[in-house]
């Protein structure tokens, strides 16, 4: 599965390797950017993760790729408010986040009844969408 070529509405996407993630995020904090959220896509062998920031109403992003099975460094040492979305990444994608300040250990939103993280592509659900939408 290919990565995003770009996102309409995001002014700039800065690609950083996993080991450079915290430094890149820290640079945004130093510029007084507001952390918006992170968004993750399951790309088969790896995850594509976008960290979104607001700079004077413009959306900018840092993107990194995380091979499945590796740990993701937590940004909570830079932006504490990232703890909610990082716990969500643990729950919904099964990503292990390392150094998370407030860690719910994969039980933030989901319960023990989930066998696989629900937002992984391998989590099979019946596709809907064969019905016509009335105009």
């Amino acid at each position: 599965m290919s990565e995003l070529a770009g996102v309409q509405g995001i002014e700039r996407i800065e690609d950083v390797p996993l080991e450079g993630l915290l430094e890149a995020v820290r640079a945004y904090r130093d510029r007084n950017a507001r952390f918006i959220t992170a968004s993750c896509l399951d790309r088969g062998e790896r995850f594509e993760i976008l960290y979104l920031f607001d700079e004077s109403l413009k959306t900018v992003a840092v993107r990194t790729f995380l091979p499945k099975g590796q740990k993701l460094p937590s940004i909570t040492g830079v932006y504490l408010c990232g703890f909610l979305v990082e716990n969500e990444l643990q729950d919904l994608f099964g990503i292990e986040v390392e150094g998370l300040d407030i860690d719910y250990r994969g039980k933030f939103l989901v319960t023990n009844t989930f066998e696989t993280p629900p937002l992984l592509k391998q989590t099979a659900c019946e596709l809907q969408g064969n019905k016509e939408v009335p105009s």
Binding site: F35, V110, T123, Q128, V133
Partner: protein, 359 residues
């Protein structure tokens, strides 16, 4: 030093109409720490957004929230329209403003009533909700429904507002304004209300930014940031200026919402005044390919939808970031140091919507 006592605040609590828990550590009456417990009613709507036809998702996302449902639909439609390169007719842009601002008015009136109820001001609570009904009536008159109005569609709007309906809105809003002003003056000028809100839960501007706060929570700390300034729909043509208050406390956040009620009325009237003739929606073919992000201003703050299309009926990803989610860290930062008796009012001051949060 006495030992800390842990008190569960919620998931069932009189000031929380929806389930969320704050696990609060107390020393005597003072809060030492608060941690949230979410997930009681998480619905997996992001996953459902991958399973539905992208057009059916409009109806799905409206059900994320019962208060700002139409604004969810707008944000989703803006994202899909951006991914598909669709240009929405001008009339649809103006009509979207009318309905979104009516939603903001009823949402803020709901908040003002709930806040009054939180400290026992029940007559004001009922009065706010009484006039809120008149705004709900306007929604019902124009859209056929009170809450989930289903006016937004990909490419425009599904319904029009005719001259007779516009006249009714123009006649009704000044009456609502007059009654709301009387109530707002009572609420914000009351000695007891001030004792319960001024200086409570103070979020300094820099902290609000660092903690990612949005909406009236951010503007109540003096930061002039409102996604309507970005000019989506017809806001760029309506001379919008954000409402801010500098003190960062519960009173300031409430004052922002109270003033936004009147500002939204002005926006509705201006949009109706300048409503251009034309089509309601642009016809389109094809399916979304590529990714797009839309940020809009919901009553509680910035709402974000990101869609990733792959040329099929089903989206590859639908990401939703709701305002309450962004405001929880700011709330957690101000509760330590508060008295336990202030926790309900301070919690309510971010106007938490758990329905949104548990999307």
């Amino acid at each position: 030093m006495s030992e800390a006592t842990n008190v569960p605040f919620g998931p069932q609590h009189p000031v929380l109409p929806e389930p969320i828990q704050l696990r609060i550590s107390l020393e005597d009456e003072n809060v030492l720490q608060a941690l949230p417990a979410l997930g009681y009613v998480h619905r997996g709507i992001e996953k459902a957004g991958e399973l539905n036809d992208f057009q059916q998702n409009v109806f799905l996302v409206e059900r994320v929230c019962g208060i700002c449902s139409s604004i969810h639909a707008l944000a989703y439609c803006l994202a899909v329209e951006s991914a598909m390169g669709l240009e929405v007719p001008k009339r649809a842009d103006y009509l979207r403003v009318v309905w979104m601002e009516l939603h903001r008015i009823h949402s803020h009136l709901l908040y003002l009533g709930l806040l009054a109820e939180a400290f026992g001001f029940e007559s004001v609570f009922m009065e706010f909700w009484r006039i809120r009904e008149r705004v709900m009536d306007l929604l019902e008159m124009t859209a056929g429904n009170r809450v989930i109005i289903s006016v937004c569609t990909i490419g425009g709007v599904r319904r029009d507002i005719d001259a007779e309906q516009a006249k009714t809105i123009r006649e009704e809003l000044p009456k609502v304004r007059e009654e709301a002003k009387r109530l707002v003056d009572t609420l914000l000028g009351d000695y007891t209300v001030k004792r319960r809100t001024v200086g409570k839960g103070v979020i300094p501007a820099q902290a609000a930014l660092e903690l990612g706060a949005v909406g009236p929570t951010l503007r109540g700390s003096g930061v002039a940031q409102d996604m309507r300034m970005a000019g989506y729909a017809a806001y760029s043509e309506l001379q919008f200026r954000p409402v801010t208050f500098a003190d960062g406390d519960t009173y300031a956040r409430t004052a922002v919402r109270a003033h936004e009620v009147f500002q939204s009325m002005d926006l509705v009237l201006a949009a109706l005044e300048n409503l251009p003739e034309g089509e309601l929606a642009v016809k389109f073919k094809g399916r979304p390919e590529g990714a797009a992000l839309a940020r809009v201003e919901a009553p509680r703050g910035e709402l974000i939808y990101m869609v990733v299309g792959n040329g099929t009926k089903n989206l590859e990803r639908m990401r939703v970031r709701v305002p309450t989610y962004a405001n929880i860290p700011a709330l957690l930062s101000v509760l330590p140091g508060c008295e336990f008796a202030d926790v309900p009012v301070v919690t309510l001051s971010i106007d938490p919507c758990i329905s949104c949060t548990e999307r």
